[in-house]
Structures are given as C-alpha cells and as structure tokens.
C-alpha cells in the first residue's frame, strides 16, 4: 500500500499545458476603454472614501481628465488596425472614429452634467429613492447637494458605448449593451425637478430596454444556431456557406436588429424616446441623444456591414421601410409637440431615420457619411439641450413651448444661438446639418436607395415646420408675464454651448476638417 506519488499536487504538476492558449491582448489598443473603466472605478472609490466633502469637486475633474486621456490615446493610435482580446474586440477605422466621437461628445456632455451654478447641486437629486411629492422630496429638491455618482455612472456608460462600437462578436456586444444601458437607466431617474416624471422615464426606459436586450439575446441565440459562431467574420462566412436553414438567419437578424434599432430610437421601436428624453435630467438627455446614438449606430453599422453585409438583399428593403417610417413619423409627430424636450426627442427620431439611409446604402460613402452625420448631429443636439437647461423659472426648466414666446426680446444672444441650432436641425446650408444630410442622401442615391432619399427630403420639409415655428415664437411674439428669465450660464455650460455651436458652424462651412478623416476611417476589418 504505497502512497500514490502521481497525485502530489501543487508546484510539481504545474507545467503550463500546451493545449491552453492565452489570448493575445493588445493593451495599447484597449487603453481608451481601460482608462474610462478605470476612472469610473476610481470615481466609485472617491464616492466611498469621502462622506462629507463635496465629492463633485473631485469627480468632475477626474472624469474630464479620464475622458481627455482616453481621447489622446485614441488620437495617438489613429493608425491602428487590429483584432485583439481573443477576437472579441476590433480596433479599426470606424471603431477609432466612433470611439473618438463618443469621447468628444461625452466630454461636452460631462460639462453639462457638471454644471452646478444654475441650481444648487446641479440637475441631479441626492436621493432618488425618496418618495416623490413628499415633504422630504421637496426639501431635498431645494437644499440638497446633487448625487455625485452621476460621474462614475456616465463614465461607465461612455466606456460601455465605446466597447459596443468596437465589439467583434455578438456576446461582447451584448455585454457592452448592458454596460452602457444600466447606468443610463439609473441616470434617468435622478432629475432634481419633476421627480415622478423622471422616475416614470427611468422605469419605462428600463422595462423597454430590458425587452430590447432580450430581443437582442434571442437574436444572438438564433444566429448562433445558424452560423455556429458568434464572431462577425464567422457569421459573415456562414451567411454564404452555411447549410443551416436561412430561416434561422432571418429570424435571428430580425431580432438582433430590433434590439439595436431600439437603442437607435427608430420607428416602431421609438415609443420610449419622447418620455425618456422629457423625464430624464436634461444633461443626461443630451448625453443619450448624442453619445447613445453614436454607439447604437456604430453597433448597427458594424453588425450590418461586417457580419451580414453579404445578405444585404434580405434586409435592405426592411430596414429601408423602417427608415422611411422613422423619418415620416418622427417629422409628423414633431409638428404636434408643445414641449421643447419632446420636440427635440421627435427630431432625434427623425434624424435616426436619415442616419438609417446611410446604413442601408451599404457602401463606403454610406459608412463615411453616417460617421460624419453622427458627429455633426451630436454636437448640435448637445448645444440644443444646453440651451434648454438655461431657460428656467422657479420650478426649474420651463420646457413648454408657450413659455418660450418672446424669448428673442429678452435674451437675443441665447435665442440667436438656439435659432442657429434649429436651422442646423432643419438642414439649412452653411450649417453642419446640411452637409451631414447631403452626405447621407448622396450615399443613398449612390447605393441605389433613391426612394429613401425622396422620403428623406419630404420629411425634412415637414420637419422644418416645427423648427421654424419655434423660431417664429421666439422672435415674433411679444414676451408675456410667464416668459421665464434666462439664467446666466456657468462656465461649463457656456463652454459646452460654445463647442456645440462652433462645431455646428465649422462642420457646415468647412466640412473638410472632418470629412477626410471620416472617409479615411470608413473601412471595416474582419
């Protein structure tokens, strides 16, 4: 009865097995995301470490520095084209461009989020769990410091968005989808004023978002059943080569795209948008309108171009129909709105439709013009919501359109800026809105989707009406008793407004500062 020596564990046994392959990780390529997530973790530690010290004073510089550092890394690695982390993440032209735009837009949104001079504690409430419309709720709305968790949460959301637009397989994409969605659900519930509306918005967003995630996941399962792979190049090969029933592919793709179109706010998956945009704190609405849109379309572009590009005849008509619906419904419903945040929400829905033209075009021009559109629209919408945060009375922001009557007389500068932004939304030449729309329409014609372009032009004409109505309201109406005062913007909001407006102007007058970059970047790798 001898002891069995072969069973001696530990050090002797620990020869690294040949069968086990450690994944190659290109840390330089992942650095922007790692920086963002790292900064978010540090932000949470700051939350844990300081109890009474005003944490926002640390959090805002920390978040801004983190985002700036990530942006610098993105710019430095601009020439990088690689698939890394065991094939989970692609760093290619569109990925870097999208990461850069998410970061730039995110920095501007962070400026809006960090604004604390308009109201004590900023646009956020300290304790979201306090029952709305109670004495405790009113007192905390009036006196409490805002929650400083918004900064780490925003950083997590931005990091998730970057991961989402660089994911190279469907599972990583799903994880990224959750990483950027969950913080947004929370952020929506943190509005300082109109707590019930804010909570309703968060709950609605959460429930519908969970449905969309479930659709996405079902789609992943179906695609896996069809292709036997979840990575994009594997799916791409399976689309032409697989012996499995194409029905699985159709169902899977449909479910997948539903999940993505939900985030992109395309009709008929748009119903959450107006409520959430209205209920969420306005800086968060700006973040969602700019960055989430970039991430959602980044993911959509990658899925459709890289993984399913070869089955384009199957989905082009369907997505085209969605695009037409999105443009028309968004434009028509925008006409009927009486609340400025809802109006901007419907305008963002219509803009998702224009972007879909670039997506459906499925050519290099489509890709580059979509990338350009995302950046141009992002800057404009950030500036628009920045203006919304400034028009306020004792109860917070005055978002009803009737309250904006005569604003041009009271504060011509701000009304002028807003007019310019609305003209950009309407696509008037010399604004970025024109160059961006022109780009996607041209790509659509190039890609043989002229019917979409016609619908786009028609919807643009309809959409010009509500914008011009606001302009007319601001300049040609007499200010009434109820016209609110326009707050003096703090340095942060001023900076955000300025960046947004100047970018809108520059991209309209000299689009060549960005267009070549977008064109150079518009090449996916598999």
């Amino acid at each position: 009865m001898s002891p069995v020596l072969a069973l001696v564990p530990l050090a002797e046994e620990s020869v690294p097995a040949e069968t086990f392959q450690l994944p190659q990780i290109d840390y330089a390529a992942l650095a922007p995301m790692l920086i963002l997530f790292g900064v978010a973790c540090v932000g949470i530690l700051v939350e844990a470490a300081f109890r009474r010290f005003p944490r926002a004073r640390i959090q805002l510089p920390l978040a801004l520095l983190g985002a700036l550092a990530a942006l610098v890394v993105v710019i430095m690695t601009a020439g990088k084209r690689t698939i890394t982390a065991g094939g989970a993440i692609t760093i290619d032209g569109p990925a870097l461009f999208l990461q850069g735009s998410i970061l730039v837009l995110g920095i501007v949104a962070l400026l809006l989020i960090g604004e604390r001079t308009l109201e004590r504690g900023g646009a956020f409430v300290a304790q979201a769990a306090v029952t709305a419309n109670t004495e405790a709720d009113r007192s905390q709305a009036a006196t409490s410091e805002g929650a400083s968790e918004v900064f780490p949460l925003s950083m997590f959301a931005l990091g998730g968005m970057m991961l989402f637009s660089t994911a190279n397989d469907l599972l990583t994409m799903f994880v990224a989808l959750e990483v950027f969605s969950l913080p947004l659900y929370l952020l929506c519930a943190l509005a300082r004023r109109r707590r019930l509306l804010s909570q309703e918005a968060a709950l609605k967003y959460f429930l519908l978002g969970s449905f969309a995630s479930a659709f996405f996941l079902f789609g992943v399962a179906m695609i896996y059943g069809f292709a036997g792979r979840v990575d994009f190049s594997g799916i791409d090969q399976a689309v032409v080569g697989s012996a499995a029933s194409p029905l699985l592919l159709y169902i899977g793709l449909a479910l997948l795209v539903i999940g993505l179109l939900f985030k992109a706010a395309a009709v008929p998956f748009h119903v959450w948008t107006p409520d959430v945009y209205q209920g969420a704190p306005t800086p968060i609405t700006a973040l969602m309108a700019a960055c989430t849109k970039v991430a959602a379309f980044g993911g959509l572009l990658r899925v459709l171009y890289v993984a399913f590009g070869r089955s384009q005849w199957d989905f082009q008509p369907v997505i085209g129909t969605v695009a037409v619906l999105t443009m028309i419904v968004g434009a028509v419903l925008a006409v009927t709105q009486t609340d400025i945040k809802r109006l901007l929400a419907y305008s963002s829905i219509a803009n998702a439709g224009y972007l879909l033209i670039g997506v459906v075009a499925l050519n290099k021009e489509g890709l580059s013009s979509s990338l350009f559109y995302l950046v141009a629209y992002g800057f404009t919408v950030l500036a628009a919501f920045g203006v919304v945060t400034l028009v306020r009375d004792a109860d917070g922001e005055a978002t009803h359109l009737s309250r904006w009557a005569g604003l041009g007389r009271r504060s011509p500068l701000l009304a002028g800026v807003f007019t310019f932004i609305l003209l950009a939304f309407a696509g008037i030449p010399l604004t970025s809105g024109f160059t961006a729309k022109f780009g996607v329409f041209a790509a659509g014609v190039e890609g043989g989707q002229t019917w979409l372009v016609i619908a786009g032009v028609v919807s643009s004409a309809i959409l010009a009406f509500p914008y011009l109505r606001v302009v007319v309201l601001m300049w040609l109406s007499e200010p009434s008793e109820s016209t609110p005062a326009v707050s003096i913007p703090g340095a942060l909001t001023s900076a955000a407004l300025m960046i947004g407006t100047v970018a809108t102007l520059v991209l309209g007058v000299v689009p060549t500062v960005l267009l070549p970059i977008a064109t150079r970047a518009a090449e996916f790798i598999r």
Partner: protein, 121 residues
C-alpha cells in the same frame, strides 16, 4: 466522462422525494383530528392574530439589498471556481486577471460598505 455518473444523483433525489412525499402525505391520515377553531388561527403567542402578516406584505428593503449583493458575490464565486480549478495552467496571466476582477468587485464592495448597505439597524 459520460452523463451516466449523474444518474445515481437523480436516484437519490427520487428516493428522498418519495420518502418525503410519503411521510408528509401519510401524516394527516394516521394522526388524530380534533377540530378546534382556535387551533386554525395563525399563532401569535395568544394575542389576536394580525389579518395580514407584516404590514400588508411589505418587507424591509434590506432584504432586497442583501439579495442583490448576494447575486453580485455569487457571480464572483462562479467566475472564481473555474479559475481556481485551472489555476496552475493559467499561471501568471490568470493570477493578474483574477486580481483585477476581484479588485473591481472590491470597489463596488467598498462603496456599498461606506454607504451603509451592509448595516442592519
């Protein structure tokens, strides 16, 4: 390694279930039955029983919080197990990755701790 090694588990489960179901079902038959209305009331040490237990079905939120924390840590454990089993093969890479993972969860843990999520009062 086929799945047949799992069959005995099902067998023991079936035997346990049969025994439990049998004894629980047989008890009311062999036991006496003496009706008394007071016996059928919920027991609250002799005082008039409250119509609804614990304030109409609302529980302290602490329990939900504990359940959520449990999920977080349970997921951490589930990631730790395969790592632990193949620890020797993963070598330094596995160690570094797992330290990062544990550190990330620890950040959340520190936050919850400082914000009083672990206090029962």
């Amino acid at each position: 390694m086929s799945l047949s090694a799992y069959i005995p588990i099902v067998g023991l489960l079936a035997l346990g279930a049969a025994f439990a179901l049998f004894s629980v079902s047989i008890a009311p038959i062999v036991g006496p039955r003496r009706y008394n209305r007071a016996k059928l009331d919920a027991y609250e040490c002799g005082i008039e029983p409250s119509p609804q237990p614990v304030g109409g079905g609302r529980f302290p939120v602490k329990f939900y919080l504990t359940a959520m924390l449990f999920i977080v840590f349970d997921i951490e454990i589930i990631f730790l197990y395969p790592w632990a089993v193949s620890f020797n093969k993963l070598a330094l890479f596995g160690f570094v990755e797992m330290v990062l993972f544990i550190a990330t969860v620890f950040v959340a843990y520190a936050y919850v701790w400082r914000r009083g999520g672990l206090d029962w009062d």
